[in-house]
């Protein structure tokens, strides 16, 4: 917001803001560790694997608890 009160710490919503270009790597934060994970990439990979495991578990759940056709 532009304006006299607190304008030094509040970035305006106008033209001064920096917008990265498509494909630009934003910061070196990607390679920093996150908790027990050596980098964000490992955390992301863990989430994707988690999603895959959920699908497999739910499929197993579906098949195991389908008593309709027996």
């Amino acid at each position: 917001m532009a304006g006299p009160v607190g304008s030094s710490e509040v970035p305006p919503s106008g033209e001064e803001r920096d917008v990265p270009e498509p494909g630009e790597v934003v910061g070196a934060a990607e390679e920093q560790g996150v908790g027990i994970f050596p980098s964000w990439k490992w955390l992301y990979l863990t989430v994707v694997l988690y999603a895959a495991v959920l699908v497999l578990l739910l499929y197993a759940f579906t098949v195991t608890l389908d008593f309709g056709a027996r």
């Binding site: 509040v10 919503s13 270009e21 759940f61």
Partner: protein, 564 residues
């Protein structure tokens, strides 16, 4: 409700308002009001993201949906963790680096003012209506179940939410969301446990799984390829992925949450938190619906749960027809109950249960058919779609929950509604002030002025939502209604953001006209085909990307020719 229930209910409201006002005392200026001065911890943001998405519609609508159709709705959420990874890796860095107040500001920086204004306008249009439905859904249900006046129920929720949101801004919203989300977790756990305790003695977890499995109520993955089938693994993985990407990545009600974090890392952790917890939470909410299905093998359920609709039919000329259905339902339920008890006895003795199981399956089918016919009859008499799925869980709560816990669970339903409504109000208000008022009308006003008009905008949107809630009317299953409204815009909005993030040569012409063509395409698909609404997001985003790239190239070539 007993005096104890009322006391717990009142305590909840007092606690929420007091906590919200106390937490918001450190807010400074407009950045404090809309972004909590960018100092919120990631766990609080994560819970707020979850609470915003999990409205009362989710809580009462999906349990009812699972009671009728089983666990299949969970497929919508299966791609959510992957969508969260994409948002963390691709979307958040752009938003964070640009130090935005709203997601749509990015589109002006990347493309042009008209693309920003159009997307912000579409957000206001769809979310303004959505805020009303969020308010209406639990209010109409609770007014029927508890006998409260509908206007009073809507008003109490609206007034309290508007009050703490207008006074405390996003800080109050996020911290109350934390309390409300914790209450929801407690409510889900209590509902599952009490459902088990209410079953007849000797009925164990294995029996529950078995009885639900006879009617395939536990089916959570459907591998069929039919695009007109709403809930399949494919519509979930593809349509659900695009829906989650659009909602969590471009909708101001969610983006605003992670813009309040003090660092890029904290913004990301808030979404990763959701990536891990959202699917299990939804699993347990749906499981409540299936447990209700099993529970009502032993207790006779109402044929139609919405008592107000039943009363309308009972005084119509088709009352006799409905009574016949009720009598048939009572007869079949008695037979099913006997067969179910026999099944349990045979299973305990280790005997062959195949014949009894088929008998129960037959009763299940017939009872589902009668319930479907009864809902159709109600719809015909009332001239509007039946929304009975939303009454299943609250009816059970009031009839079977212990004293004290009823008040708590009603408070949980209120909490779910209010935690979504408050987020919508701050998001609508921020888009109104930042994307329109400041951008087009008063770009150089003081912080005090912006803070004042931001509060006015929050109040205004609250009153608008209140008005919509009063006229929301009959919209079938409310969870689908809200998602359907969003799906007309979501996919195309996502396409514009993807164009900005991923395509270097994309320009304002491609983005603006691509967005319009994308929405027109989704509308055409929606009105001329039977394709499930979950695919609309895929259609919208893909169309915007293809058309946006093509038009951007044409516009660029035109500029080159004009220059030479």
């Amino acid at each position: 409700m007993t005096p104890l229930d009322w006391a717990i209910f009142a305590l909840y409201f007092a606690g929420v308002i007091g906590f919200a006002v106390w937490q918001s005392r450190k807010n400074v200026g407009v950045e404090g009001f809309f972004l909590a001065n960018r100092r919120m911890p990631w766990a609080a943001i994560g819970l707020s993201v979850m609470a915003t998405q999990a409205s009362a519609i989710t809580f009462i609508g999906t349990t009812g949906q699972a009671f009728d159709d089983g666990m299949e709705f969970i497929q919508v959420y299966l791609a959510l963790p992957v969508a969260m990874v994409v948002i963390c890796a691709v979307f958040i860095p752009f938003f964070y680096k640009a130090k935005l107040y709203t997601a749509y500001e990015y589109l002006e920086k990347r493309f042009d003012p008209r693309t920003r204004s159009l997307t912000a306008f579409l957000f206001l249009l769809s979310r303004g209506m959505g805020a009303g439905i969020i308010l209406y859904a639990p209010a109409i249900v609770l007014s029927v179940i508890l006998g409260w006046d509908e206007l009073f129920t809507i008003a109490i929720m609206a007034v309290v939410t508007i009050a703490y949101t207008t006074v405390g801004g996003i800080t109050a919203v996020i911290w109350t969301d934390v309390i409300q989300m914790v209450m929801m977790f407690g409510g889900i756990a209590a509902a599952v446990l009490i459902l088990f305790f209410e079953l007849p003695a000797g009925v164990g977890v294995g029996d529950v799984a078995y009885i639900g499995g006879i009617q395939r109520m536990w089916t959570a993955v459907d591998l069929s390829w039919d695009p007109t089938n709403t809930y399949t693994i494919w519509s979930g993985l593809f349509g659900g992925f695009f829906l989650a990407l659009a909602y969590f990545g471009t909708d101001q009600s969610q983006v605003q949450r992670y813009l309040t974090a003090s660092s890029l890392k904290d913004s990301r952790l808030a979404l990763i938190f959701n990536a891990f917890l959202k699917v299990p939470m939804q699993f347990f909410i749906l499981a409540i619906g299936v447990l209700l299905f099993v529970f009502y093998h032993f207790e006779r359920p109402p044929l139609v749960f919405n008592d107000a609709e039943v009363r309308v039919v009972a005084t119509s000329e088709r009352a006799a027809e409905y009574r016949e259905m009720e009598e048939e339902q009572a007869r079949l339920h008695g037979l099913r109950r006997e067969a179910t008890m026999e099944l349990l006895r045979v299973r305990e003795e280790g005997g062959e249960a195949g014949a009894i199981q088929r008998e129960i399956g037959g009763y299940d089918d017939r009872l589902a058919e009668i319930r479907s016919d009864a809902k159709a009859l109600v719809s015909e008499v009332r001239g509007a779609a039946s929304n009975d799925v939303n009454y299943v869980f609250p009816t059970y709560l009031v009839q079977y929950f212990p004293t004290g816990l009823v008040g708590l669970m009603i408070a949980v339903i209120f909490a779910a509604a209010m935690s979504s409504l408050d987020s919508e109000l701050t998001a609508l208000s921020s888009a109104t002030i930042v994307d329109f008022y400041e951008r087009w009308f008063r770009p150089d006003a003081s912080q005090d002025h912006y803070l004042f008009v931001s509060r006015i905008a929050t109040l205004g949107w609250g009153l608008y939502a209140f008005g919509v809630a009063l006229f929301a009317g009959q919209m079938g299953s409310l969870i689908e209604a809200v998602n359907q409204v969003g799906s007309f815009f979501y996919g195309s909005l996502l396409g514009v953001f993807l164009l900005g993030f991923l395509v270097k040569g994309a320009n304002g012409t491609g983005a603006f006209w691509g967005l319009l063509v994308g929405m027109a395409t989704v509308a055409t698909v929606a009105f001329t085909t039977d394709v499930s609404w979950l695919w609309y997001n895929v259609v919208g985003a893909s169309t915007v990307l293809v058309v946006g790239v093509a038009l951007s190239r044409l516009a660029a070539e035109g500029d080159v020719r004009a220059g030479s």
